[in-house]
Amino acid sequence: MKEKTAEDIVLEIKDKSELMVDLAYSSVLYDNKIIAEEVYDLENAVDTLYRTLQKKSLEEVKNGKQSIENALTLLRIAHAGEQIADAAQEIADVELRDVELHPILKMSIRESDVVFTKVKVEPHSVLCGKTLGQLKLASETGMMVIAMRHINKWIYGPDKNTKITSEDILFAKGPEDGEKHLIELANGTSTEI
């Protein structure tokens, strides 16, 4: 495998930290500790990435592959990503604590512009047996799948090669009118994507 460049690592931090915010809010909305724990794991992953990046960017500067200014810019943007990841962990921490969630929390998250939704894929749904890439759910329904549960296995930030099978639970985010479409597709009442 090709060695990751500093730029690759920055992108990974960016994508991961944004996924973490989504996961953290949905863990609170669905009172789901498993998702909250994943946010913790991702936070560790981001910390490791950030440390690797620090070393990598110094190396690249030393080898003359990157200018000092560029390396600094990369480090600064990654630092912001790391802080976003920390904040997501703080949100997940509320879910993991042994205190019952205040009902207002769920209501506030539910009422915001971007909704989170959780749907179960029924056996006769058109989604079964297709990959996210084939379905183009994000561009067809506006709903982006951020996590899914497949039997007892969880997939976080699924990509275009991830296949949906019956009984999967999808966690997705998107606009209000996209939510209905996704629910209908998953429970088989609609076959039109």
């Binding site: 915010v21 997501a88 019952e100 512009d113 329904t141 479409h181």
Partner: protein
Amino acid sequence: MKKRKSIFGKLQRTPKWKKEEFTEIEYEPKTVKELLTEMKDISELIIDLAYSAILLDNIEIAEEVKYLEVRMDKLNYEIRMISMMAARTKDDAEKLAGILQIAEAAESISNAAGDIANLLTLKSKTGPILPKLLSKAEEKIFRIKVIDKSKACNQKIGDLKIESETGIRIIAIRRGECWIYNPQSDTTIQADDWLITRGTDDGYQEINKFLKGEVKILE
């Protein structure tokens, strides 16, 4: 349809963060729920805006990020005050602590976004490394101009169902000298608007054709 939020979807001029910073905090009887919903919305919008500012090398969007950051400070202060007044028992306090922690986290996110937008002023001399970098991210930021022969003109965003048909989310609209941030479903699209959007390549292809008038409907 959702109630329109007062600070979003308005035609406005930047900067206004300074004005916000110097106004005294007056105690307005808002609910914890309203405050937290707004904070969550801002925490998501502000990240997109910060990256857009960098990608498009646009100082005005960076100013809006700054404004939202200041606004977030105030919301966080207000939510603390209200929560304290609401707590009567230990049980109340425990549950409200969770709300304050999430509010605090939303504020940290906006601070991080502010740091991202600040990179614009510290731009490196060697050229646009960040725009190049961000154009490789999974979900990208696109800027699209609305052509007058497009069917989108004079239509409401909610009626066009742009996001649910294409997965493209409109972060901001530039109309002449003015900006509309986080347009709501009742915001109308006009000819010559520039839309700042976020989404996948597939979705971009679709909406671009629509806004250029090459296809008549989104499906």
